[in-house]
Symmetry: C2
Subunit: 84 residues, 2 copies
Protein backbone atom coordinates (compact mmCIF):
# COMPACT_ATOMS: atom_id res chain seq x y z
CA UNK A 1 0.00 0.00 0.00
CA UNK A 2 1.35 3.36 -0.99
CA UNK A 3 0.11 6.83 -0.15
CA UNK A 4 1.64 9.98 -1.54
CA UNK A 5 1.75 13.66 -0.76
CA UNK A 6 3.61 15.40 -3.55
CA UNK A 7 3.73 18.85 -5.08
CA UNK A 8 0.72 19.50 -7.33
CA UNK A 9 3.11 19.75 -10.30
CA UNK A 10 4.10 16.11 -9.89
CA UNK A 11 0.81 14.51 -8.84
CA UNK A 12 -0.07 13.43 -12.38
CA UNK A 13 3.27 11.74 -13.03
CA UNK A 14 3.35 9.98 -9.64
CA UNK A 15 -0.22 8.81 -10.07
CA UNK A 16 0.44 7.49 -13.57
CA UNK A 17 3.54 5.63 -12.39
CA UNK A 18 1.77 4.04 -9.41
CA UNK A 19 -1.09 2.98 -11.67
CA UNK A 20 1.40 0.88 -13.66
CA UNK A 21 2.15 -1.21 -10.60
CA UNK A 22 -0.75 -0.98 -8.16
CA UNK A 23 -4.49 -0.45 -8.02
CA UNK A 24 -5.87 2.97 -7.25
CA UNK A 25 -8.01 2.83 -4.12
CA UNK A 26 -9.02 6.33 -3.18
CA UNK A 27 -7.60 9.85 -3.29
CA UNK A 28 -3.84 9.49 -2.95
CA UNK A 29 -3.93 5.83 -1.92
CA UNK A 30 -2.84 2.83 -3.99
CA UNK A 31 -2.73 -0.81 -3.01
CA UNK A 32 -1.96 -4.19 -4.48
CA UNK A 33 0.07 -7.35 -4.30
CA UNK A 34 3.56 -6.91 -5.65
CA UNK A 35 6.84 -8.81 -5.46
CA UNK A 36 9.85 -7.22 -3.77
CA UNK A 37 11.65 -6.99 -7.13
CA UNK A 38 8.76 -5.21 -8.85
CA UNK A 39 8.26 -2.94 -5.85
CA UNK A 40 11.92 -1.92 -5.96
CA UNK A 41 11.57 -1.14 -9.67
CA UNK A 42 8.49 0.96 -8.95
CA UNK A 43 10.25 2.85 -6.13
CA UNK A 44 13.34 3.48 -8.26
CA UNK A 45 11.12 5.00 -10.94
CA UNK A 46 9.24 7.10 -8.39
CA UNK A 47 12.57 8.38 -7.09
CA UNK A 48 13.26 9.85 -10.52
CA UNK A 49 9.94 11.69 -10.50
CA UNK A 50 9.69 13.11 -7.01
CA UNK A 51 11.64 15.82 -5.25
CA UNK A 52 12.78 14.06 -2.07
CA UNK A 53 13.14 17.36 -0.25
CA UNK A 54 9.55 18.35 -0.87
CA UNK A 55 7.45 15.27 -1.64
CA UNK A 56 6.72 12.18 0.36
CA UNK A 57 5.75 8.64 -0.46
CA UNK A 58 4.59 6.39 2.38
CA UNK A 59 4.99 2.69 1.85
CA UNK A 60 3.16 0.16 4.03
CA UNK A 61 4.15 -3.46 3.55
CA UNK A 62 2.28 -6.47 4.89
CA UNK A 63 4.01 -9.71 3.96
CA UNK A 64 0.90 -11.86 4.33
CA UNK A 65 -2.35 -10.33 2.97
CA UNK A 66 -4.22 -12.25 5.68
CA UNK A 67 -2.59 -10.01 8.27
CA UNK A 68 -4.49 -6.96 7.10
CA UNK A 69 -8.24 -6.50 7.16
CA UNK A 70 -9.90 -3.88 5.05
CA UNK A 71 -13.36 -2.47 5.66
CA UNK A 72 -15.18 0.21 3.76
CA UNK A 73 -17.72 2.53 5.35
CA UNK A 74 -19.90 4.38 2.88
CA UNK A 75 -19.34 4.05 -0.85
CA UNK A 76 -16.57 2.04 -2.42
CA UNK A 77 -14.81 4.22 -4.96
CA UNK A 78 -14.35 2.24 -8.09
CA UNK A 79 -11.27 2.94 -10.21
CA UNK A 80 -13.71 3.38 -13.08
CA UNK A 81 -15.60 6.23 -11.42
CA UNK A 82 -12.94 8.65 -12.51
CA UNK A 83 -13.80 7.97 -16.12
CA UNK A 84 -17.50 8.72 -15.69
CA UNK B 1 -5.13 3.06 9.63
CA UNK B 2 -7.94 5.07 8.12
CA UNK B 3 -8.11 6.92 4.84
CA UNK B 4 -11.06 9.04 3.81
CA UNK B 5 -12.55 10.47 0.67
CA UNK B 6 -15.46 12.66 1.64
CA UNK B 7 -17.30 15.64 0.22
CA UNK B 8 -15.34 18.87 0.69
CA UNK B 9 -18.14 20.14 2.94
CA UNK B 10 -17.43 17.41 5.49
CA UNK B 11 -13.62 17.13 5.29
CA UNK B 12 -13.08 19.44 8.28
CA UNK B 13 -15.47 17.57 10.55
CA UNK B 14 -14.15 14.12 9.56
CA UNK B 15 -10.58 15.27 10.01
CA UNK B 16 -11.29 16.76 13.42
CA UNK B 17 -13.03 13.59 14.55
CA UNK B 18 -10.22 11.30 13.37
CA UNK B 19 -7.69 13.51 15.09
CA UNK B 20 -9.41 12.74 18.40
CA UNK B 21 -8.58 9.06 18.00
CA UNK B 22 -5.64 8.66 15.64
CA UNK B 23 -2.51 10.42 14.44
CA UNK B 24 -2.58 12.35 11.22
CA UNK B 25 0.00 10.92 8.81
CA UNK B 26 -0.38 12.61 5.47
CA UNK B 27 -3.14 14.06 3.31
CA UNK B 28 -6.26 12.06 4.05
CA UNK B 29 -4.43 9.32 5.97
CA UNK B 30 -4.56 8.67 9.71
CA UNK B 31 -2.95 5.88 11.68
CA UNK B 32 -2.49 4.72 15.22
CA UNK B 33 -2.95 1.99 17.78
CA UNK B 34 -6.49 1.74 19.03
CA UNK B 35 -8.57 -0.83 20.90
CA UNK B 36 -11.58 -2.42 19.21
CA UNK B 37 -13.92 -0.64 21.62
CA UNK B 38 -12.45 2.80 20.96
CA UNK B 39 -12.37 2.12 17.23
CA UNK B 40 -16.06 1.26 17.27
CA UNK B 41 -16.79 4.48 19.13
CA UNK B 42 -14.79 6.43 16.54
CA UNK B 43 -16.61 4.72 13.65
CA UNK B 44 -20.04 5.32 15.22
CA UNK B 45 -19.21 9.00 15.49
CA UNK B 46 -17.93 9.16 11.93
CA UNK B 47 -21.16 7.54 10.78
CA UNK B 48 -23.07 10.52 12.15
CA UNK B 49 -20.88 12.94 10.19
CA UNK B 50 -20.57 11.32 6.78
CA UNK B 51 -23.10 10.76 4.03
CA UNK B 52 -22.76 7.02 3.38
CA UNK B 53 -24.09 7.42 -0.15
CA UNK B 54 -21.45 9.92 -1.12
CA UNK B 55 -18.45 9.63 1.22
CA UNK B 56 -16.11 6.77 1.94
CA UNK B 57 -13.93 5.80 4.85
CA UNK B 58 -11.41 2.99 4.32
CA UNK B 59 -10.33 1.13 7.41
CA UNK B 60 -7.22 -1.07 7.40
CA UNK B 61 -6.65 -3.17 10.50
CA UNK B 62 -3.48 -5.02 11.40
CA UNK B 63 -3.84 -6.90 14.68
CA UNK B 64 -0.11 -7.05 15.36
CA UNK B 65 1.88 -3.89 14.57
CA UNK B 66 4.86 -6.10 13.79
CA UNK B 67 2.98 -7.38 10.74
CA UNK B 68 3.16 -4.05 8.97
CA UNK B 69 6.31 -2.27 7.86
CA UNK B 70 6.27 1.41 7.10
CA UNK B 71 8.86 3.20 5.01
CA UNK B 72 8.99 6.83 4.03
CA UNK B 73 10.56 8.04 0.82
CA UNK B 74 11.25 11.76 0.72
CA UNK B 75 10.18 14.02 3.54
CA UNK B 76 8.27 12.86 6.58
CA UNK B 77 5.32 15.18 7.03
CA UNK B 78 5.10 16.12 10.64
CA UNK B 79 1.67 16.71 12.15
CA UNK B 80 3.06 20.05 13.28
CA UNK B 81 3.87 21.24 9.77
CA UNK B 82 0.29 22.31 9.29
CA UNK B 83 0.60 24.80 12.11
CA UNK B 84 3.66 26.52 10.65
Amino acid sequence: MITYDVNQKRVGKVCKKLREYLDWTQNSVFEGEITTGTLNKCLAELHKIINVEEDSIYLYRVSNPRNIKKDIIGVEKSPFDIFL
